[in-house]
């Protein structure tokens, strides 16, 4: 008979309250060796990575969504509970690392006790130990370990060696553990646990009698009823200024790069369908979309930094009352802000809203926030409307953004009114201590966004541009001089004629359904202009300025504000809400809104310009 050697952990999971620094710790442990996907069936982000223990063993780390309690209120918390109680498709982790913020143990210890009840092997990581020392908080670690009867390591997730003690602890053999069991606690059990927490906390932690948290002083200004709003307006202004001005410069470089590639291909290849496909289809199409990468990354950079600093919940606090007039809560602010970059992460960010009706409303209105993919179409049309007047052009751009916001709030208000029995939605959120964003986490976060975007460009958008190019190139079987695309545009024209769209626009809207960004290149292809990206845009603007009546330009602008577009958004809405019905409701109301707005604009402008 052989004695089984003691098992070492192979798969661990990080558990912790929101704001405990868990993700920064995960980034420190795994570096760039991580994979972002979704948990089966839900769009909660699943982050897994590979790390090395002190002895060099490779083990898998799962970064669970932040949870205050296993008694889940949000989708995020439900995923965490299901994974560590063995109720999900995920394999049960060999070991839990419960990350607790040393500066906020009174709150975070409770989850440690709750996790301990599960019976899984557990290590407690006391994170932000450096901050705790600065604030004069003294923790008797040996006593705490005895009281909890758990191994405790100290970590500083923002220091390069801040996780060394944890790496060493992961080489300890595991004790045998029974399968975890968890039962929803009632009020008495919660109170009993809290009384345990308080006892342990009072015996092991000495805090200074005066609250030294600088956040309180900062908040006197940032949450001030007047100055708070001034700062918020300034923050948003700077963010969008950076997106437009900084993005423009970087986009210019990318455009030049793609122009050079197209030129090189044209110079070195014989004229023919393959060259056409490469230059107009692939390089033109893909290049036309990649130019938005800087704008998307700048916007995400600001959002990630603001989130990591702890400012966004304050903004949500300030905006709670104004948003509640539209039937939302301040919690919807962060998802809606993200939707200005792209509706998809915006919709995914709603998973922290525990109240279902609030969450659904936020999902339904998120596409009305002018996502960055609309920027090129807006820019093209506005430039065509005001060829020599940059000031008016800028004002109209601001107006388009404002229109989307006003429409979103109006729609939210109608949804609230339609549901008279709705319970009041709670706000209840933590305003975490301010901190400098962790650079490593910021870079990793941006890298993830860039990869998601480029993957989309390399797959769906590349496919669309090739199909589009083919549709324009292959002649119609009816042999009437039209291409297949022309036929399609001709057929759709019947639907869009009342709102002033010509055949070229009608067709360009089809690929636009899959990805808004390609509307511009689709129009370019429809007017059969070849040449490099810059030249196409220039020619297109000239032709639009010259050939389209004012009413058509305005009508298309309004269409772009409201129209349901981008299939990925539909897919995410279906997955998030788990309902085809909600998806069609969203698509339907947006289409109706867009058609109506364009119809009124077109007919009114035509009538006004005629008389």
């Amino acid at each position: 008979m052989s004695i089984p050697s003691p098992a070492l952990p192979l798969r661990i999971a990080l558990l912790g309250n929101p704001n405990c620094g868990k993700t920064a710790l995960f980034n420190l442990l795994t570096g760039s060796r991580q994979k972002v996907a979704n948990y089966a069936g839900v769009t909660v982000e699943r982050k897994e990575g590979v790390m090395r223990t002190a002895s060099g063993r490779r083990i898998k780390v799962l970064d669970l969504p932040g949870a205050y309690s296993l008694n889940a209120l949000s989708n995020d918390e439900a995923v965490t509970r299901d994974v560590i109680t063995g109720h999900s498709k995920e394999a049960l982790p060999d070991l839990l690392v419960c990350v607790a913020d040393a500066t906020n143990l009174r709150l975070h210890l409770r989850l440690v006790l709750e996790a301990r009840q599960l019976g899984l092997p557990l290590v407690v990581a006391l994170n932000k130990m450096d901050r705790a020392k600065q604030l004069g908080i003294v923790i008797d670690r040996a006593l705490l370990a005895r009281e909890l009867n758990l191994p405790i390591v100290e970590t500083v997730s923002v220091h390069a060696h801040g996780a060394d003690a944890l790496r060493a602890a992961l080489d300890e053999p595991l004790r045998a553990a029974p399968p975890p069991h968890w039962k929803q606690p009632d009020v008495e059990q919660v109170l009993a646990t809290q009384s345990d927490v308080l006892g342990i906390f009072n015996r092991t932690v000495t805090s200074p009698t005066t609250d030294k948290d600088p956040s309180i002083r900062i908040d006197r200004f940032l949450m001030h009823p007047v100055w708070g709003f001034v700062v918020l307006a300034l923050v948003l202004f700077i963010t969008f200024l950076a997106v437009f001005s900084g993005g423009d410069v970087l986009s210019g470089w990318i455009e030049d790069g793609f122009g050079a590639i197209a030129g090189a291909v044209e110079a070195n290849m014989a004229d023919g369908p393959l060259r056409g496909l490469l230059v107009e289809g692939v390089i033109g199409g893909v290049g036309g979309v990649i130019v938005f990468l800087p704008q998307i990354l700048i916007l995400f950079g600001f959002i990630l930094a603001l989130e990591a600093s702890g400012y966004l919940p304050r903004a949500a606090f300030l905006l709670d009352k104004p948003m509640s007039a539209a039937g939302l809560s301040g919690r919807s602010f962060i998802p809606l802000l993200s939707s200005f970059a792209c509706a998809i992460p915006g919709i995914m960010a709603t998973r922290t809203i525990s109240h279902w009706r609030d969450r659904l409303t936020t999902i339904l209105i998120a596409p009305l926030m002018a996502c960055s993919a609309r920027i090129p179409v807006y820019t093209l049309l506005v430039a065509a409307l005001f060829p020599d007047d940059a000031m008016s052009a800028a004002l109209v751009m601001v107006g388009l953004y404002a229109l989307g916001i006003v429409a979103a709030m109006t729609v939210a208000w109608f949804i609230k009114r339609s549901d008279k029995h709705a319970a009041r939605s709670p706000l209840l959120m933590e305003l975490p201590a301010y901190q400098w964003p962790d650079l490593r986490s910021l870079v990793i976060g941006l890298w993830e966004r860039a990869v998601i975007f480029l993957r989309r460009v390399g797959t769906i958008i590349l496919a669309i541009t090739i199909v589009m190019w083919a549709l324009y190139t292959v002649p119609s079987p009816r042999d009437n001089g039209r291409s297949l695309a022309g036929e399609l545009g001709h057929a759709l024209h019947h639907v869009f004629k009342p709102i002033g769209f010509n055949e070229q626009i009608s067709f360009a809207l089809v690929p636009g359904m899959a990805a808004r960004e390609v509307v511009v290149s689709a129009l370019g292809t429809a007017y059969a202009m070849d040449g490099e990206e810059d030249a196409v845009k220039e020619q297109l603007r000239e032709r639009i300025t010259r050939e389209w009546p004012l009413a058509t330009k305005l009508s298309l602008l309004l269409w772009m504000v409201f129209a349901p577009q981008c299939l990925s958004t539909f897919v995410v809405v279906k997955r998030e809400t788990g309902s085809w019905k909600q998806m069609w409701i969203m698509g339907g109301y947006l289409f109706a809104l867009a058609y109506l707005a364009s119809l009124i604009t077109y007919q009114l402008t035509t009538w006004l310009t005629a008389s």
Partner: protein, 89 residues
């Protein structure tokens, strides 16, 4: 401990900058509100804890920001009303 009922108010009635000690919570019958109150307890709004209202929203002084230990929570007055507190003299 003898409940000092005449001195107990709900947290939403505590003025800005006012400090108090949590006396207890009201457990509502509505299921959604019960869940909310359970969460308030889990976050630490339990008897004996000191709280202070550190901010009030601009419109109708809602929501409020409450300091509890080393944490600040934002909550609406409607939610704060479930928490009973004894104001400090």
């Amino acid at each position: 401990m003898i409940p000092e009922s005449e001195r107990t108010i709900s947290l939403d009635q505590l003025p800005e900058e006012g400090s108090a000690t949590v006396a207890g919570v009201t457990v509502p019958t509505d299921a959604a509100e019960r869940t909310l109150v359970l969460r308030l307890l889990e976050l630490g709004f339990v008897p004996g804890e000191r709280v202070q209202v550190i901010h009030e929203g601009r419109h109708r002084r809602d929501p409020i920001a409450v300091r509890l230990g080393h944490t600040t929570f934002a909550l609406r007055r409607h939610e704060a009303a479930f928490i009973q507190v004894t104001p400090s003299a």
